[in-house]
Amino acid sequence: MKINGTSYPAPGDPRRLLSDHIRHDVGLTGTHVGCEHGVCGCCTVLLDGAPVRVCLMLAVQAEGHEITTIEGLAAPGEALHPVQQAFHECHGLQCGFCTPGFVMSVVGLLRQNPSPTPEQVDEGISGNLCRCTGYASIRRAVHRAAELTKP
């Protein structure tokens, strides 16, 4: 499997969740783990370009696929990805625990629909839980990200 463009071998134990593989074996700890049963959205990454929950995949299932984690959106020292930039500008985060999952879900949302309506934005982030920022500024960040993404 490729993670952020680099090839990694699949773990030997098929029980290894893709979330634990990314964090513990590969060492990319930007992908967070909250509930491990698909409810919080913290662990969202892109699998072949579409957002998925990695706590609900076995690492062996990612063999032959390309994964992008939050670390893969923008190289260190380079400009932030527009969605990251928007979260930064709009104070879309406080403690940051939920943020990688939100950012990856929003990257997926804007790929599917570059100009979402307010309802589509709410729908698009409804699968991610934030326990501290409050959703108002996150919602603003998504609209700002759509603006920044426009050519």
Binding site: L17, G41, P51, M57, L58, S105, D122, S126, G127
Partner: protein, 250 residues
Amino acid sequence: MKPAPFEYHAPASIGEACSLIGSLEDAKVLAGGQSLIPLLNFRLARPAHLVDINRIANFDRIYERDGGIAVGALARQADVEDSQLVARVCPLLAAATRLVAHRVIRNRGTVCGNLAHADPASELPAVLLALGGHVVAHSARGSRIIPAADFFTSVMQTRLASDELLTEAWFPKSTGRFGIAEESRRHGDFALAGAVRYGDRLALFGVAPTPVLADPRDPARGLQPSADLEATAEFRLHLVQVVTERVFPQ
């Protein structure tokens, strides 16, 4: 490791998958994993073998068959939701799929896995029932069609035998008047009660061990919904009236 130990198999064909689930003791099929992996992580399910069908080629087809729509076992809910064909031939299926969980979950979850899982609060089993669709089950013994009315037997129980793979679900052409309404505590949650309408047919979900057909003029008759932390039985019966009125507006 979160899940209990299991042996992992990734067959490349339907035949290979069927011979595995037919010969292995205590095997479970892994499709989108959006219901099964949480159960493994909690160790509520501890199958000895997992048969992952995600490597089977051409198993994700969505195509026209017998005037209706056939959905292969690997077709993701998101693909069904986006399909032009589904929008044209069976718009109720597209509308109902949008109510299943969240888009990120629908990117992995399959329509067939949702039907096989048979959660009583799921939308899609009620759609299959309201439309009079069927599923196709395949095993080393051959294949058979199971009509929706026979398929769902109890809470998370279906007519599928332990050696059978659900290969396809079929939804009849349904361009007539339809509606789906549900009430849940939070957006994307399982419904406390829901109603699916096609023409004069009404199917309810979340209020009995399986989806049930009901009389639109007296939808709650004979129902004995269960009570839990989220809703009492009386509240669910009230919601049955509410969602029925919503799909049969005066």
